[in-house]
């Protein structure tokens, strides 16, 4: 892991464009800002997990954070 960076773990089947399974993003920005700056667009709304804890996408990334994304599907 690069210093001062957080890691996004991505499932390419969840994103509109081709995306690597893992990317490093700068800490000090929100999850949403990092997604936008890397042009990552999900096929459907997602919820983020930061280091195993469910988080809002307004969460400010810290160095060393590992973030995963889960599609949100209506229940029925």
């Amino acid at each position: 892991m690069e210093q001062g960076k957080a890691t996004f773990l991505l499932d390419p089947s969840h994103t509109v464009q081709k995306t690597p399974r893992e990317i490093s993003v700068a800490a000090g920005q929100t999850i949403m800002q990092a997604l936008n700056s890397h042009g990552i667009v999900f096929r459907q709304p997602v919820v983020a997990l930061v280091n195993g804890q469910t988080c809002d996408v307004s969460y400010c990334l810290q160095p060393g954070d590992v973030v995963r994304f889960f599609p949100q599907i209506a229940g029925g």
């Binding site: 949403m32 709304p45 919820v47 997990l49 804890q53 469910t54 996408v57 307004s58 949100q72 599907i73």
Partner: protein, 634 residues
């Protein structure tokens, strides 16, 4: 009085089917006390104010049923109501509502089911069927193209839903008859018995099946041949074309796996309650996800009238010990969650078998899972004694045995048949600390500790805890979601913050619940990503009325306020707008560790909601609010 053999033919049957609008203008009335049948012919203003579904249900409950009646007595009124849009060519309208006063909650019961029954009723000439009284012996109704007959159901009593459907279709000589019915659970008046349609589509919640059972009404069989009309086919085809072009992108999740594909995701983010809300992580949960169980048992996919999505599952399984019949469909997310993680069962065969039994017996799967999980915890903590059988967490065979015993009202099953809230009252403390209910109804599988606005919605819901007529927080926390699109139509800032209940989230909840209430009246599937604009076009096309987004919102608000008036009339107060203890229990580990509202935070949010709705501090709508919506108090 013997009412078997009584018949009724609606006058002017052909005349009303002019194809120029999507409703017939006739509501069938049936009194089971004496077999009297007639039709109501409400004016256009009635339809425009109430739309159908939940709107019609509340109209009859408020205007024709005295306050305080026994929900299982003959005075309760049972209403089957499609809506103005039901049965039209618009995808998602293969749906109708069923309602009554709930025996589980004492409040409103209003559930919606997909399939074909509602469409068939409209094709047979009726916008709704309103049932009152109680037959002396088991009967069923046979409605065909405006004609109605009361027939004996003595030979059907005790039969499963699948067998009942087979016998009725055989004796009436038509395989295409659509049937609304109860199974043995409704006959036994289990307080969370469902009304089943096409044997696998449930108007599941709040004990509607028990109400039907209390009336000795086994089934309503329907066949119709008239098309549902439209005022403006071109306008409707615009909405139809939009959804047909976009549904694969916007509803890809439903096309691919249905809601069963969300089990792992919901678990991993903390959305699914585990082991009666005690655990944060459930090993082996992925075995219950569509990705893993499809190869083991998926036989086919199924759908509702005019729906290209086909989100429904058909499962089949056979081995030495277990047979699962495909005619009962397959388990969806709520069912998988309630009978799986909530009971700590990760065996997909046991959960699918439990789902099949719930459909065959006619039980609400959410409350069934909820009450079994509650009983499992009480048993584990030694609060139950003297029973020859008690269910155990993680034991699939005891999950299945519990369902049999609930329907037979045998041993602990007789207690479970009353629901977890009544069980907790009987057991006494500390059982109340293990309860996960709102208005005595078991919570759906959207954990309110994670989805906190949704939790407020559970507390406020006139039907007891309900995830559908609600705003689920995480559906509006990411830009571009369908919920965000609707909120933006009313000028609200999006996306919403994930945690807590802010002013913005309460405003959003009000708009979304008005929309969902319109959908439950129209009656349309919530999975479709329609916006207010789509509903403006669809309603205008169906009726010829020139409606606006503001009118769609007002229809929803009116029906929300009617439901509130019903609660007040039935004796509910602001103190009842709350959640039981487990909704506030904070986990020590897992994705939502340490998260939950406090009871005080919930109370403050609800007071804010009252004020924004134009209700007083006790949650009573003000005279001015009611006047604006064309309603009166009492």
């Amino acid at each position: 009085m013997d009412i078997i053999g009584k018949t009724f033919q609606t006058p002017n049957y052909q005349e009303m089917l002019d194809g120029k609008r999507a409703y017939t203008g006739k509501i069938l009335r049936v009194n089971l006390n004496d077999g009297r049948m007639w039709v109501d012919q409400p004016d256009e203003a009635f339809y425009r104010r109430l739309i159908g579904g939940r709107g019609f249900i509340l109209h009859y409950l408020l205007n024709e049923m005295p306050a305080g009646v026994d929900p299982l007595g003959p005075e309760n009124i049972l209403i089957f109501a499609p809506g103005v849009l039901s049965g039209t060519v618009l995808p998602g309208t293969g749906r109708h509502a069923v309602g009554a006063k709930s025996p589980l909650t004492g409040a409103l019961a209003s559930g919606e089911a997909g399939g074909w029954w509602g469409t068939e009723l409209k094709k047979a000439g009726y916008d709704a069927v309103v049932i009152q009284g109680r037959a002396e012996s088991p009967v069923y109704l046979w409605i065909k193209d405006g004609a109605v007959e009361i027939r004996s159901a003595a030979h059907l009593w005790g039969k499963t839903t699948g067998d009942t459907q087979e016998i009725i279709c055989q004796e009436l000589g038509d395989e295409k008859i659509r049937i609304a019915q109860i199974g043995p659970a409704g006959e036994a008046q289990v307080l969370f018995a469902a009304v089943m349609h096409d044997i696998n589509r449930a108007a599941g919640r709040s004990g509607l099946g028990a109400v039907m059972g209390s009336k000795n009404l086994k089934a309503i069989a329907v066949r119709g041949s008239a098309p549902v009309g439209l005022a403006d086919k071109e306008l409707m085809s615009l909405v139809q074309r939009w959804i047909n072009k976009n549904y694969k992108d916007l509803m890809g999740w439903a096309v691919e796996y249905g809601t069963a594909g969300s089990v792992t995701y919901n678990h991993d983010t903390g959305g699914t309650a585990i082991r009666n809300y005690l655990d944060g992580v459930f090993e082996g949960v992925s075995k219950l996800d569509a990705r893993e169980f499809f190869p083991i048992m998926l036989k086919d996919r199924d759908t509702c009238n005019r729906c290209p999505v086909r989100c429904k599952l058909v499962v089949e399984y056979n081995d030495q010990d277990v047979e699962i019949q495909s005619r009962y469909g397959g388990p969806e997310y709520e069912t998988l969650g309630a009978l799986g993680p909530l009971c700590a069962v990760n065996d997909p065969v046991a959960v699918a078998k439990a789902n099949e039994l719930c459909a065959a017996y006619g039980l609400d799967t959410i409350s069934t899972g909820g009450v079994i999980a509650f009983t499992m915890e009480c048993a584990e903590k030694g609060l139950l004694s003297g029973y020859d059988f008690l269910p155990r967490f993680g034991d699939g065979s005891s999950l299945i045995e519990s369902i049999h015993r609930i329907v037979r009202c045998e041993g602990i099953g007789a207690e479970m048949a009353l629901g977890s809230a009544r069980m907790a009252e009987k057991i006494g403390p500390p059982a109340d600390e293990m309860l996960a209910v709102a208005r005595k109804q078991e919570l759906p599988l959207h954990d309110p500790r994670f989805k906190q606005l949704c939790g407020m919605g559970y507390a406020l819901s006139p039907t007891g805890a309900d995830h559908q007529n609600n705003l689920i927080d995480n559906f509006a926390t990411f830009p571009g979601s369908e919920t965000c699109n609707r909120l933006e139509e009313f000028g609200l800032e999006t996306p919403l913050p994930l945690w807590g209940i802010s002013e913005l989230k309460i405003k959003a909840y009000i708009v979304e619940v008005a929309f969902k209430t319109f959908m439950d009246s129209a009656v349309i599937c919530h999975f479709y990503p329609y916006t207010f604009k789509h509903m403006v076009d669809a309603l205008s096309a169906a009726t010829g009325w020139q409606v606006s987004a503001a009118e769609i919102r007002e229809i929803g608000d009116r029906i929300v306020n009617m439901a509130r008036l019903f609660l007040i009339r039935e004796g509910f107060t602001a103190d009842d707008d709350t959640l039981s203890a487990r909704a506030f229990y904070r986990l020590e580990s897992g994705p939502i560790a340490g998260k939950a509202l406090t009871p005080e935070e919930l109370k403050l949010a609800i007071r804010d909601y009252y004020a924004r709705m134009g209700w007083d501090e006790q949650g009573v709508p003000s005279a001015q609010t009611l006047k604006q919506l064309g309603l009166t108090l009492g």
